[in-house]
């Protein structure tokens, strides 16, 4: 009985393979014909700046499945915000610059584009959410001293709260702006991610299919009300 099933499977597999080879052959022949569709004039594709990184490089998504224990995360939301003057400010470089004569570029991106474990710092590298910008040291500056020149009393507002899901178990919305943060997985996926906000499913690439951006520019907030001619019923 078991054997019969096995033979049946082999037979099916063989038949499928044969048809595949046939289709492949057809395709190869097809591809040798000259293309008849003229290439469109190469026009720069208008880019939506806030959306451009959403589908960035899904090829490595499988690697993000590998998750170290969240309790061992070397980045927490507390340290994330502590390092920034306000939510959205560029953080300074917390380690010695490998080459201060460099403008950033490949030197910084060799670690911060893809991430990974750095033995020297005993830490998982945070991944930049905006790897297209190359002049890194324009915004991220080093730290040579700890004091202040004359003291400062700047205050900021609290960063957005996490876990604002409207229903138990429903996908939480994106509570922050997306400017310069178009690659979600930089902060939310992989071992270099921030502990509390690490996604449980980073291999799913189309984040905004489920997570709506509440902080979208132009969003007016408040509840939807339908304007009714002659007043509300």
């Amino acid at each position: 009985m078991g054997d019969r099933l096995r033979y049946f499977r082999i037979a099916i597999a063989t038949a499928l393979m044969a048809s595949f080879i046939f289709v492949l052959g057809e395709t190869v022949v097809e591809s040798q014909r000259p293309a008849v569709v003229a290439a469109a004039v190469s026009q720069p594709v208008p880019e939506l700046p806030l959306e451009s990184g959403v589908f960035r490089d899904p090829s490595d998504a499988r690697e993000y499945r590998w998750e170290p224990d969240a309790r061992n995360a070397n980045r927490s939301l507390a340290s994330f915000y502590q390092r920034r003057a306000y939510d959205g400010a560029p953080p300074p470089v917390p380690h010695k610059l490998l080459d201060p004569g460099s403008f950033g570029g490949g030197g910084c991106l060799s670690c911060h584009a893809e991430g990974g474990y750095v033995r020297q710092f005993k830490a998982w590298t945070p991944v930049t959410p905006h790897p297209d910008f190359l002049n890194c040291l324009q915004c991220h500056v080093g730290e040579q001293s700890q004091g202040e020149f004359r003291g400062n009393v700047f205050q900021t507002v609290r960063p957005p709260e996490t876990r604002q899901a409207p229903l138990p178990g429903s996908p939480p919305p994106v509570p922050h702006g997306l400017q310069m943060r178009d690659n979600c997985r930089a902060c939310h996926g992989g071992p270099g991610a921030v502990g509390e906000i690490r996604s449980t499913h980073p291999q799913r690439v189309n984040c905004r299919q489920c997570h709506a951006a509440v902080a979208a520019p132009g969003a007016s907030g408040g509840e939807f009300t339908r304007p009714v001619p002659g007043g509300q019923p």
């Binding site: 502590q82 004569g101 002049n135 324009q138 001293s145 003291g151 700047f154 205050q155 609290r158």
Partner: protein
């Protein structure tokens, strides 16, 4: 406290901050920093307050406090990106030692007084000085950080109502050579192109311009262009290796002042290879030469007037024969093959070329000449006034163009034209409602001469607004001691104590940037408006309103008859009535409020991206399908000037064997009075240092961090060495940034200037270097 204890308390403080952000309202016995709820946060647009790029920012405002910054995605300048200064700019409003009261010096001590009392004193001292010593014993010195209304009101008060041309701005130290360069070549100030050139060019040539640090947002746009277009090349011409050299495809180092010879050699090589645009030259260019051996202005009351002699193309070519690549290799240290390479870039008809420069060419004893010579390269090839092709002079201050150049706050300028021109004086007198005789037909004191006059006693009253000359003047000691002499009355309007407020007789606290309404004009002729977003602290008052208050106290109030609520739109209306002309039409107040920025000329509300080209510029007239029209000069041509190479004012010798170069770093802006009060920026670069070449350091036995003594003929200074940090000077050169008021490098610099522009050269003098 030991370092260990200090770090423990810092770690604890960080945790308190983090806790208060994550758990609203949390309290600890050790004290709790306040953070505000994000409820009701609003975002308002403004240009950045620092350099001349003019990035659009969105400022987050909550409960009368600025709490966050975003790049404005709607701004055509920066498209949502800023630099570290812009992102942290609002923190500069909240330094603990912010000036919120007026001070008056009494028996050597600065005593706080109500601001009304201080303004009374300023008005009475100004009147008294004019009565005793004449109008020209008084003056005002502002800057390219003046908003357009500030500069316009200063000019109207001093040039129109009082009647002295002693109105100057620190932009004289910053871009006067750019102005004279534009005027001598094109007859009209400011660039023909715009930042959008970056998105079209194939080759970028940077002349003495460390753009990666000084104009980083534009540099990033250039890197982005190269990333998407592999053929794009960036060439860095400089006297020092910088982050820009590192990022460039080619770095070419030359000896100071040899850029004059280098530009001529490129021209020579292009002509020799026939890489020039003959039709363009025949139709749109004329050839000229001026005086040579023009001096350096180091003596008081130095005078110079250039002379124009028309020459032919052949005469021009003949004069260039002194500048073959091989001869220039000896002067400049640049290999002849590199000069030929540069000529091939400029000369290739298939390549669009943009040249960028800023202080390297402006702070130059032959600043006007080098501008002329770089324009020549674009004119010889016709690569100008089209998308992706053109010379572009960058500016260092947010409104060097808008206020100083357009509203006319240099001694010889008026809001439209020059004081020497009768028609311009009549126009100003009519709009200002003053007798035309009030406006003097002779220019007054230019910046260096203004401080010399203060030292000599020819100038008795000086009002300094938004600038810090006691850090920025070259040969500083003379001017500091001069300003302190008996019988001089110095008023300083500022937001923080500085070495300049140290010499003040009256300090007026100023409202800063978004604490008042205003406009700036950036490098690409773009005017940008912001509304008042915050209440100024204490008695602080905008510079415009301080001037108006003093005018009223002097009985000149009828010229400034506005209310606080309407004064900015009224000033804008009056100022722009100087420019109802297709060559300079400015945007309406309404358009400025509604847009991140508007470029002039904008007749009929339409911006002009490329001037002198009829396809884009309604003021240009197309002849037989040729759209180029250099309408600034009476012959409707751009002028190619032959200018020779001449040496710097002071060169290294046996006694002072090193070149001293000065400049900025990305973190600090100018004298650091704002950026040093931003913790992240101060931590990044806490003090000035001297950069040395590693070979020189080894010869002198100097290691990284060692104390080094620099001595020039003017003064001496001890500061730490930095070897192979972010820059590397050539052998025999040193570099020092000027932001640090505790390490005043301008004690050593020389007050030599370009005789045409009167702009000092901060990039070249001779020093000794030794281990301290």
């Amino acid at each position: 406290m030991t370092r260990r204890e200090a770090l423990r308390s810092m770690a604890a403080a960080a945790a308190v901050t983090a806790a208060s952000q994550l758990a609203p309202g949390v309290a600890f016995a050790a004290g709790t920093p306040k953070t505000l709820s994000a409820e009701g946060l609003t975002w308002k647009k403004t240009p950045c307050r620092f350099c001349g790029t003019g990035c659009g920012l969105l400022i987050g405002i909550k409960d009368n406090r600025a709490v966050a910054v975003k790049g404005d995605p709607a701004s055509a300048v920066n498209k949502g990106l800023c630099c570290v200064k812009g992102y942290h700019s609002v923190i500069a409003l909240y330094g603990k030692d912010r000036l919120t009261r007026a001070y008056v010096r009494n028996n050597g001590q600065l005593i706080p007084v109500p601001i009304g009392e201080a303004l009374d004193l300023v008005a009475s001292k100004l009147k008294e000085t004019i009565d005793k010593h004449g109008k020209n014993a008084a003056g005002i010195y502002g800057s390219g950080q003046w908003t357009i209304p500030d500069g316009y009101v200063a000019s109207k008060l001093f040039k129109g109502a009082i009647g002295t041309n002693n109105v100057e701005a620190n932009a004289r130290l910053c871009m006067a050579s750019a102005v004279t360069g534009f005027m001598t070549t094109f007859g009209l100030d400011e660039p023909m192109g715009c930042y959008e050139d970056i998105d079209h060019a194939d080759v970028f040539v940077l002349w003495g311009n460390n753009m990666a640090e000084m104009h980083p947002v534009l540099f990033s746009r250039m890197l982005d262009r190269r990333l998407r277009n592999a053929h794009v090349k960036i060439v860095d011409l400089a006297t020092r290796w910088t982050r820009t050299s590192m990022a460039a495809d080619r770095s070419i180092l030359f000896q100071p002042n040899a850029d004059l010879a280098l530009a001529n050699a490129i021209a020579y090589e292009m002509i020799r290879n026939q890489w020039i645009h003959r039709t363009f030259l025949d139709r749109h260019v004329s050839f000229h030469e001026g005086k040579t051996n023009i001096g350096y202005g180091t003596q008081d009351k130095f005078q110079f007037t250039d002379e124009n002699r028309n020459i032919t193309f052949n005469e021009y070519v003949k004069r260039l024969e002194e500048y073959t690549p091989d001869k220039v290799e000896k002067i400049s240290g640049v290999p002849a093959r590199d000069i030929r390479y540069l000529a091939s870039l400029y000369g290739d008809p298939g390549k669009k070329v943009v040249s960028y420069w800023c202080m390297g060419m402006n702070q130059h004893v032959r600043g006007t000449w080098i501008q002329n010579l770089v324009y020549n390269l674009h004119l010889l090839t016709g690569k100008i006034s089209q998308p992706g092709n053109g010379p572009f002079s960058l500016t260092g201050q947010p409104s060097a163009c808008g206020t100083v150049r357009e509203a006319g706050t240099l001694t010889h300028r008026l809001p439209h034209g020059d004081v020497t021109n009768e028609a311009d004086r009549k126009m100003a007198a009519r709009i200002w409602g003053v007798p035309v005789e009030n406006i003097q037909p002779k220019p007054g004191l230019h910046t260096v001469e203004m401080f010399r006059a203060l030292d000599r006693g020819d100038l008795r009253f000086l009002w300094i607004q938004v600038t810090n000359p006691m850090v920025t003047m070259p040969k500083l000691k003379r001017y500091r001691e001069g300003a302190r002499k008996e019988g001089r009355f110095v008023v300083v309007s500022d937001v923080y104590p500085t070495p300049t407020t140290d010499i003040a007789d009256v300090i007026l606290p100023s409202a800063m940037w978004i604490e008042r309404e205003g406009m700036f004009g950036n490098s690409e002729r773009r005017t940008q408006h912001w509304e008042q977003m915050l209440k100024p602290p204490g008695d602080a008052m905008s510079d415009t309103w301080q001037l108006i208050e003093v005018a009223r106290r002097m009985g000149l109030g009828k010229h400034f008859n506005w209310t606080y609520e309407n004064h900015i739109p009224e000033i804008w209306k009056e100022y722009t009535s100087f420019h109802h002309d297709p060559k300079h039409e400015m945007a309406t107040y309404q358009a400025l409020r509604e847009n991140p920025g508007v470029m002039w000329p904008c007749p009929g509300g339409r911006e002009t991206k490329w001037r002198y080209n009829a396809r884009y510029d309604p003021a240009a007239k197309s002849v037989n399908g040729d759209p180029i029209d250099f309408y600034g000069k009476p012959d409707r041509r751009a002028w190619i000037w032959f200018r020779p190479w001449e040496p710097a004012a002071e060169e290294p010798d046996a006694e002072f064997p090193f070149w001293l170069n000065t400049g900025r770093v990305v973190e600090h802006w100018h004298t650091g009075s704002m950026t040093r009060r931003i913790p992240i920026l101060h931590k990044a670069v806490p003090n000035a240092y001297v950069e040395l070449h590693p070979m020189d350091a080894r010869k002198l036995g100097i290691r990284n961090g060692d104390r080094v003594r620099l001595t020039s003929r003017r003064g001496a200074l001890t500061l730490p060495a930095q070897i192979d940090g972010r820059g590397r000077p050539q052998e025999g050169h040193v570099f020092v940034p000027f932001f640090d008021e505790a390490i005043l490098i301008n004690e050593l610099t020389l007050d030599a200037f370009c005789p045409i522009s009167k702009q000092p050269d901060y990039k070249k003098c001779a020093v000794q270097v030794e281990r301290a």
